[in-house]
Subunit: 186 residues, 2 copies
DNA sequence: GAGCGGATCGAGGGGATGCTTC
DNA sequence: ACGAAGCATCCCCTCGATCCGC
């Protein structure tokens, strides 16, 4: 949750758009902004979804050429089930770490690419080139993420692995509950 | 002013829509919501649901010019793009401090050069040579300003960082509202 | 560079607070 | 002597990678 300040009249306007009791500011804004991007996306009429349906997320990234695309991808992400079965089996948290990252990558390559831009104070955490990781730290112990072109740093305690996972999942736009599950699976 | 809470991804999305230096959340939201109502208004098949309440208009920017010269300079600065999106994300106020200074530098190099002539009672605050700063104090912890040839002192509390920023922005000719926003971004 | 996992501890940075100076 | 302004000490927290256990 973030806190933002807005002017009173704008606040009143937004509050005036409430459709259900208990709707949060986020809900209302999503609806309003979503209505906009729908209108931008096509001139066709589409009010079939008004009211009943759960609203898809607003894209988390600033507009690219592929607005509508991104929207679809996100809503699909939100409903995909992770395959946790094999993961719990893996003997070490490092193994589970790699497996979970692999699933995130498979979920959506392009979102993963944006989400994995994360580094510590000195080390690079992700890269497609093993050497980049080796170069950024002394003994980062990079390992390949299965079924992907990426490498990750591995020489961290479990808490940090969890943090990295959390960051990527969150940056990819997963829902809080899912992020929690992913982190717990580590 | 009212304070509202919104979810992180929505926040990021909104922040990503920043177009000008000094834009507040209100400004951005007004633009986004306005774009929507424009589309609705121009449509023959206007949907009563959305149009039920008038969108408050964006207040005109108060460009109080006594001096035409100054006006021109200011307006050129005031329309340059300022990217606040990445800044809020930076983990420490020192990081944000450096990022903000970097943007000010990029905004106008020569104005920045004039504006950064500021010092404390003992310490030099800005310099193009790290050594100058080191020489002027005991532990000033100089750091390079990204994308610029300058260094700044870093070992100060946040209030002083804000003061320095304020001074530079003001000396560069930004408007009061914008200076305020820059300082708030710290 | 090859054994691997990862907890633990130390280095280093951030910046509030207290001390000094005017 | 008292207050304001500014410096830098020092504590805390984050992050790296050593080193031990398996």
């Amino acid at each position: 949750m973030k806190t933002i300040e807005i002017e009173d009249d704008l606040y009143l306007y937004i509050a005036g758009q409430t459709q259900h009791i208990g709707e949060s500011a986020s809900d209302i804004l999503r609806r309003l902004l979503d209505a906009q991007s729908q209108l931008n996306a096509s001139s066709e009429l589409n009010d079939a979804r008004v009211g009943s349906q759960a609203l898809p997320s607003v894209p988390a990234e600033p507009v690219m050429g592929e607005d509508v695309e991104a929207d679809k991808v996100i809503s699909s992400i939100q409903h995909v089930e992770f395959d946790f079965s094999g993961i719990a089996e893996a003997g070490s948290s490092t193994k589970r770490f790699l497996a979970l990252l692999s699933q995130l990558y498979c979920l959506d390559r392009s979102r993963f690419a944006k989400a994995c831009v994360i580094k510590g104070s000195k080390r690079e955490y992700f890269s497609q080139a093993k050497e980049t990781l080796l170069a950024s730290g002394k003994t980062s112990k990079p390992q390949a993420i299965p079924a992907s072109p990426y490498w990750v740093i591995t020489n961290t305690n479990t808490a940090r692995k969890r943090y990295i996972l959390q960051h990527v999942a969150s940056e990819m736009g997963l829902q809080a509950i899912q992020i929690e599950r992913v982190c717990e699976a580590l």
